[in-house]
């Protein structure tokens, strides 16, 4: 079968791409999607090790990560809608002060 290290390598590449997205893009929605990409890279590592050790704990943890990501997206998008109403933009550079 396929060596474990290939799956870990793919996860590392996806995680690095997610970090690049967070650092480079200015659109807050794309920054959010890059965060989801990093969550997925972590999930991939969980599943790969779940298969490697033949135990189910990894899959259970992935389910927890998914629910937490869903909660994070709900709150984050709500924040984004509010910011867009206030400023008419979701550019992360323009929201640099906390004063309403």
């Amino acid at each position: 079968m396929i060596p474990l290290v290939y799956y870990l390598g793919l996860a590392v590449i996806l995680f690095a791409l997610g970090i690049l997205g967070v650092l480079l893009r200015k659109n807050a929605l794309v920054v959010f999607m890059s965060l989801e990409l990093m969550f997925n890279a972590a999930n991939l590592v969980f599943i790969a090790f779940s298969n490697f050790y033949q135990i189910l704990d990894g899959q259970t943890l992935v389910i927890f990560v998914m629910t937490t990501a869903a909660a994070e997206v709900a709150v984050g998008l709500a924040l984004m809608v509010t910011i867009f109403r206030h400023r008419g933009s979701i550019d992360v550079d323009q929201t640099k002060d906390l004063k309403g």
Binding site: M1, I2, P3, L4, V5, Y6, Y7, L8, G9, L10, V12, I13, L14, L17, G18, I19, L20, G21, L23, L24, K26, N27, L29, V30, M33, S34, E36, L37, N40, N43, I47, S50, N51, F52, Q54, L56, D57, Q59, T60, V62, I63, F64, M66, T67, T68, A69, A70, A71, V73, A74, V75, L77, A78, L79, M80, V81, T82, F84, I90, D91
Partner: protein, 173 residues
């Protein structure tokens, strides 16, 4: 090259290309669609690793629910074609350097500690059993499970409170 390796390489290439396209796309709707492609490719990898329950949860929860929420917000805000400012001049090379440093570090750690001789197993029935996952969730992981439910409740309430129009706006309308 075995058939399994060939399938893995094709799916991995699709996942990486979709992720890069998501980063480079100027239209936010296209970014979201490319991310869905990436999620589906990763779900296929979960299937090949013998985790069909998680693979289908990935398709329904991530590619279904979460990305639909994203697309809904993009279209509601009309944010699909927002002009982006250029990033600071030193930011782009520094970001690329830091990500490459992370990849290099990870490659070194992986090749020096985990060699090619650690192999994944072919899919088995015991690992793919949703019943066993449920039993694990409700026995060994019952406390995290309950905490997750509270997190979801707080997130739902928080989203409603945050998007509710303020008192002043209510008086105006």
């Amino acid at each position: 090259m075995t058939p399994q390796l060939f399938v893995f390489l094709v799916i991995a290439a699709i996942a990486v290309i979709a992720a890069v396209a998501m980063l480079l796309s100027r239209n936010t709707v296209y970014s979201a669609l490319y991310l869905i492609v990436n999620f589906l490719a990763i779900a296929a990898i979960y299937l090949s690793l013998g985790a069909p329950f998680v693979a289908l949860a990935q398709v329904t929860v991530y590619a279904g629910a979460i990305m639909v929420l994203f697309l809904f917000v993009i279209m509601m805000l009309g944010a699909e074609k927002l002009k982006e400012q250029e990033p600071l001049k030193w930011q782009r090379p520094l970001a690329i350097f830091l990500s490459l440093a992370l990849v290099g570090e990870a490659v070194y750690a992986l090749t020096s500690h985990i060699g090619q001789d650690f192999l994944t197993q072919p899919p088995t029935d015991t690992l793919a059993d949703p019943k066993a996952i449920g039993a694990l969730l409700f026995n060994q992981y019952s406390l995290p499970f309950e905490i997750t439910s509270i997190i979801l409740l707080v997130a739902a309430v928080g989203a409603v409170v945050l998007t509710r129009a303020g008192k002043k706006e209510e008086e105006k309308s």
